[in-house]
Symmetry: C2
């Protein structure tokens, strides 16, 4: 835990030394507002932990760590426009606080800044190429997510591919970049990437559960937002699979309703069906399986177990096994 806290502090200190200001202020104020909120810094931490795992120079890894955090926050700003999300981390979203034009443009500037940060380390060109690849994948995932809002016949496999692109690849790339600047060998970079993918799948499925089964104070977002937005999460797709003919029809009908309908009522009715079918427990089983695979990938890395302690601890914190 000491190592994790130290890396968190190092990243916070590093960010404190970066000037996110600039002119015109309408463009840069939303960037500072977004990046300087105290988020989980999950992606930077994965990058720094992977770099530490392979004995790399932390100064080289801080730049990709910042690039990843900036890229992630860019996606949030643009996604919040598309999802019409009023809250993020318990605060107003950029599009809500300013307007959607400013949110588009400051997001564009952030994507560009992410690239600029990625180019800073010695292996800048390679890191920037990876950043480009993962940024494309995240866009593809977000487009699939938008498609599935209106597409009626989404399969569980399609959903899993969507969250792989939208969430897991960025977590995996964070680990990959940290390992890469540390000059890890090819096979180990692949293992750490695989660890990130499976952990990312687990993380997103947990997020789906938290969206409905946690309260807004701890989660920082609108409660049941996925249901309100007709997002076909694993919960919903599993419920469809397990439901009686009557429940299935009702669920499908509820997931065509839009904001003119009473939102709270809709969320409560969907949640009641989920609870009756025990879909939360079903999703938890799938999460456990991803977690198991993640730790197998971690085991496969060609290093002594004691070196893997910090990354393992961090992943266990994320998967909620340890607080």
């Amino acid at each position: 835990m000491e190592k994790i806290k130290q890396l968190q502090q190092d990243f916070a200190d590093f960010m404190a030394g970066i000037d996110f200001g600039g002119e015109p202020k309408e463009l840069y104020a939303p960037i500072a507002y977004t990046l300087l909120q105290s988020g989980k810094r999950l992606r930077p931490m994965l990058c720094l932990l992977a770099n530490d795992l392979f004995g790399g120079d932390e100064n080289e890894a801080l730049w990709p760590a910042l690039a990843l955090e900036t890229l992630h926050n860019f996606t949030l700003i643009h996604d919040d426009i598309m999802d019409k999300a009023p809250l993020r981390r318990g605060k107003e979203t950029v599009y809500q606080k300013w307007n959607s034009n400013i949110a588009i443009l400051s997001g564009d500037a952030m994507l560009t800044m992410a690239l600029q940060f990625a180019l800073k380390p010695k292996k800048g060109a390679t890191i920037a190429a990876l950043l480009g690849k993962v940024a494309r994948e995240v866009c593809e995932g977000q487009q699939l997510d938008l498609n599935y809002e209106t597409q009626t016949n989404v399969s569980i496999d399609e959903y899993l591919e969507m969250i792989r692109l939208k969430t897991a690849v960025l977590l995996a790339s964070s680990l990959q970049m940290g390992a890469l600047v540390a000059n890890a060998k090819e096979s180990d970079i692949q293992h750490v990437y695989d660890f990130g993918i499976t952990m990312g799948m687990s993380f997103q499925l947990q997020d789906d559960i938290l969206d409905l089964y946690s309260d807004v104070e701890t989660f920082g977002k609108r409660h049941g937002g996925d249901i309100a937005d007709n997002k076909k999460t694993y919960l919903y797709l599993k419920a469809l699979e397990l439901a009686s003919e009557k429940d299935r029809k009702r669920l499908q009908q509820l997931f065509t309703l839009h904001m003119d309908h009473d939102e709270e009522e809709k969320i409560e009715e969907v949640k009641a069906i989920y609870d009756r079918l025990n879909v939360k427990e079903e999703v938890e089983k799938v999460i456990a399986e991803y977690d198991r695979k993640a730790f197998l990938a971690l085991d496969a890395i060609d290093l002594p177990d004691e070196r893997k302690v910090h990354l393992r601890t961090f992943a266990e914190m994320l998967s909620g096994r340890k607080k």
Copy 2:
């Protein structure tokens, strides 16, 4: 002219060999739709001409040329959302043909693709860094442009700085990148950049004139769109400067009206004031001065005049001296 036509053909052939497709198709179709329209290919041409000027390898310059064209088209897609523009090059804009979410996301993917293309040549890291710098500047320029739509006291200097950022820097960077991959010396890279800035200023001021004084068939955009959008162009700012108290007040009043007002009537009334004050001729004087400075910068490049023929011819075509 042969050289210019040859480079145009080379770029067209190069683009024809690039696969702009991908999944999900909702993300990639707008990219192919935008990039495969027959635009002027101004930025790629400037990059290839500068590379040719300094005797560089055309294969190295084609990638930054494509990166620049992709970056430019990304800005058009996002700007068209912000400006609510229905037409671009005489065709429906992406946000109009699909929707604004798809336009945001496919624009994001294009910005990322621009980065990926920029990384391809031998000097990829340097080109990508320049692309990042210019992308930031273009965002800043667009934000100033948005600000000036509602800001009442815009000065002519502020306007010129806005168009420098929004338009001129990208043209200048196109020349700079072409010169850079051709290993031109520092002082010549600076001259060719300065040439691009002054030519770009001239180009944008001409565009302001064309927006009002050409017809939609040849221009491909809504006629008088700048007036409809209350864009404070050089024409407007010069008119304010030259106008009688009465005309000035009327102009300012007209430039607070929004779409609920009869658009055609507003455009005609503003145009009548401009014509009475001869502002078109005033802007043409400023354009001539920028053109003069542009050709001075071209003269300063440390190469025999005969090498500069193609770039000079291309610039003269742009400035409308030669057809």
